[in-house]
């Protein structure tokens, strides 16, 4: 058994991180979290998380940026919004999870085990170039990039899709792709700006 020191020092905090997250539109309510645990209790995936959603809220509020961005929790969020609806303080927990995912992807910090960030990136690239998603092609690319073994284990699923006529191999695309590209560029450089730039 490996024994680890778990104490946190002030230097472990990244000052301003909480403020930055709470500055994202819709996330300001985090200030009034009372750590009741409804989010974790209601979350269907909290049973797999290293930090429960409630703990993530506490970590964010205390500026423990590295701990949060390295945790599995944000990648296990399936966006079912149960926590957001149930929270007695009306904290938009799902949106906070999105804000954390965006930061993790931007900073390149995420657990290598989970291909979700890769999925997200592949997804956005496909949308950018084609305007639409062709799910089967997206999944293929994901498997190619992330996990060869998964392809092998999923071959039966693929065959099934082909059998039921659901395996699409031609890209779905929109006509005015240039228009869409202009719009995405006009939206700016990515992150929604926090309200108070520190």
């Amino acid at each position: 058994m490996r024994i680890q020191r778990t104490i946190k020092y002030e230097a472990d905090r990244v000052r301003g991180f909480a403020k930055e997250i709470m500055g994202v539109s819709g996330c300001e309510q985090l200030q009034s979290c009372i750590q009741c645990g409804t989010c974790s209790g209601t979350c269907p995936l909290s049973i797999y998380m290293d930090f429960s959603p409630r703990q993530v809220m506490a970590l964010v509020r205390a500026d423990f940026k590295h701990e949060v961005l390295r945790s599995h929790t944000v990648w296990l969020c399936a966006s079912c919004y149960a926590c957001t609806v149930e929270c007695p303080r009306q904290i938009r927990i799902t949106d906070i999870m999105y804000a954390l995912k965006q930061r993790a992807i931007k900073e390149g910090i995420y657990p290598k085990r989970f291909p979700i960030p890769i999925l997200a990136k592949e997804f956005s690239e496909m949308v950018r170039s084609k305007g639409r998603i062709t799910e089967t092609l997206l999944v293929m690319r994901l498997f190619l990039k992330a996990n060869w073994r998964a392809v092998l284990s999923s071959w039966r699923l693929g065959l099934g899709l082909i059998r039921t006529g659901r395996f699409v191999i031609r890209h779905e695309r929109i006509e005015r792709r240039a228009e869409l590209a202009t719009m995405l560029d006009a939206a700016g450089n990515g992150q929604v700006k926090p309200k108070e730039a520190a």
């Binding site: 966006s79 989970f114 979700i116 949308v127 799910e135 994901l142 779905e172």
Partner: protein, 301 residues
């Protein structure tokens, strides 16, 4: 009754059976659907993880085009699309920074969105606009004796739904009852199916699917009715893996529109029922067999 129709990527791919059943059912009920011109990906969950602003722009482009198409509500069958489009609509009103970004992007393409177009789910439209009586009057082969577990999933009822309760929605229950089905009380009706985690983190995602399937079987359901293409896929496509991990829980999962189509007299094939991995009990799809079945149910002690 006329609506602009936003299929979303899934209904052209893995969820094509949803479209295949939705369109004839709506036409049969006299509802006119005009597919949105040059629609694009809604922005979806995956995109939000990368860039929420751009996801909003994607959604807003669709909303703007829909608004241009006329004063019709935007019919959005896919739960994820329904959520993202509604969320964007809310964000535009609630958050000035998001509004500014989106308006800037729309302007760059000479588009505009004033917030007039409403985003509606087919379930909402069928129950509230078309009405259960009108639907009932079209039923020629009621689902007598068929035990259906209504499964709504998460994103249609949370958190932006305007037409049903987030905890205990009942619209589909009432619709299925109008089709003559036995609606099984299904307390997991809004629990998460695992979403994309079934593919990316199967040990977690598939367990959620498994719990749903197991509970539906335990409650004696013959079939699960769903309103979301991803839910349908998860509940339908992973039985092999689930069987391997936790034991056999075979049950078919179909779109509620497919069940409607059956009662209206469409053939299973017309409704895309042939696309299922786990086929729906053939008894239920055969009118004659169904009649027998309902008799046997009645005769049961």
């Amino acid at each position: 009754m006329k609506y602009t129709y936003f299929p979303g990527c899934s209904l052209k791919g893995l969820g094509r059976a949803y479209e295949e059943s939705l369109l004839p059912v709506m036409r049969h009920l006299g509802v006119e659907l005009a597919e949105l011109d040059d629609w694009n990906c809604c922005g979806a969950t995956a995109y939000m993880s990368v860039d929420e602003a751009k996801a909003g722009v994607l959604a807003a482009r669709n909303l703007a085009i829909a608004e241009k198409a006329g004063p019709y509500d935007l019919l959005t069958p896919c739960s994820a699309c329904y959520l993202v489009l509604n969320k964007t609509k809310h964000n535009i009103t609630d958050f000035p920074e998001i509004r500014d970004t989106i308006h800037r992007a729309l302007r760059s393409a000479n588009l505009a969105y004033t917030g007039n177009t409403q985003v509606r789910h087919p379930l909402d439209v069928l129950v509230h606009d078309v009405g259960l009586d009108a639907i009932k009057s079209r039923v020629v082969r009621p689902l007598k004796g068929l035990k259906v577990a209504p499964y709504y999933g998460c994103q249609v009822v949370r958190p932006y739904s305007t037409f049903d309760d987030a905890w205990n929605p009942t619209t589909m229950d009432r619709l299925l009852a109008a089709l003559g089905a036995d609606v099984v009380p299904f307390p997991l009706k809004t629990k998460c199916c695992g979403g994309s985690l079934t593919g990316t983190v199967p040990e977690a995602g598939l367990r959620l699917t498994y719990i749903l399937l197991k509970e539906a079987v335990r409650r004696g359901a013959d079939v699960i009715a769903t309103i979301c293409p991803l839910c349908q896929f998860n509940l339908d496509a992973y039985h092999d893996q689930i069987d391997r991990r936790w034991g056999r829980t075979r049950i078919a999962t179909v779109y509620f529109t497919q069940l409607m189509g059956l009662t209206f007299g469409f053939s299973p094939k017309q409704l895309g029922l042939n696309r299922n991995f786990v086929p729906m009990n053939p008894l239920a799809t055969e009118p004659k067999a169904m009649a027998q079945r309902s008799q046997s149910v009645r005769g049961a002690p």
